[in-house]
Symmetry: C2
Subunit: 168 residues, 2 copies
């Protein structure tokens, strides 16, 4: 397989994976492109290489910055902005975990806590099942939460090392 073909496949696969996980396909593709680019790229580079419009490129680049996955680079004497991606996969994983936790898990846990406090007419089967289900999911969510917090603070090698002690 040639490099060019491989690059395209990688970008496409990253985009598909992103959209399967609720992340804008193009944003994931822009990220993929920057991940495999040795040098920082301009908005125009991104537009050309992915055949997308200026507005689209601009928006997704800024979203990626919001996710903490890429950064702007200013070059002395130049007006153009350059963008480059952190290529450390452990950082990427942690960053995505951190953002999704904040945007999605935390709000759900908040709601589940509220729903746990529903007033307890436990004579009805409905109420009983509801409370049990909410309580169980809440417990699971909190366990996931703690695990993520551990991961967010951890060094990669320590984290996987610990994980694989579990394997044996």
């Amino acid at each position: 397989m040639e490099l060019e073909e491989a690059r395209l496949k990688f970008i496409e696969a990253w985009g598909r994976l992103g959209s399967e996980w609720g992340i804008n396909r193009t944003m994931a593709q822009v990220h993929a492109l920057l991940l495999i680019s040795p040098e920082a790229l301009t908005t125009e580079d991104v537009m050309e290489q992915l055949s997308i419009s200026r507005g689209n490129a601009n928006m997704n680049l800024r979203d990626l910055i919001g996710w903490g996955l890429i950064e702007k680079q200013h070059r002395p004497g130049e007006r153009k902005e350059y963008f480059f991606a952190d290529k450390d996969t452990w950082n990427i994983a942690r960053q995505v975990a951190k953002e999704r936790k904040k945007r999605e898990l935390d709000p759900v846990i908040k709601l589940l806590n509220e729903l746990s406090e529903i007033k307890g007419d436990d004579k009805s089967k409905e109420a009983k099942v509801f409370k049990t289900t909410v309580k169980d999911i809440n417990k699971l969510a909190k366990n996931v939460n703690k695990t993520l917090e551990t991961m967010l603070k951890a060094e990669e090698s320590w984290f996987w090392g610990s994980m694989f002690k579990l394997l044996k």
Copy 2:
């Protein structure tokens, strides 16, 4: 908060969470409904309670069966089919992990392995960065994979117990 309000909020939240994670909103809502229903429900029950069409209800119920999250129940003497959800949150988590691994992670790992074999013109910076990036992501993906495999085989209490030893 009243039970009825709480039920609606739960269903809505589950649906939203689903769609944020690339799962059809309605499918997640049907799942939520069955999770908090003490008795198995018919297609008609689901249609009514979620105000969706017969076709929609039917498709999502079958998809949920495909995900291993709900089951059909046949009642002697009755033609109608009843559906009920496994309410064990650990089973649910494992089932979802298992399916997504199969549908998404496994194919990605397969591709990454192929992309790793690209022929090695390491003089170009492009090729060098590409290979390094693919290799690193591949490593991460395989670690995630192993972790999931451990989880899939594990008992809930053992799994979280082990996880929290890491916390300390």
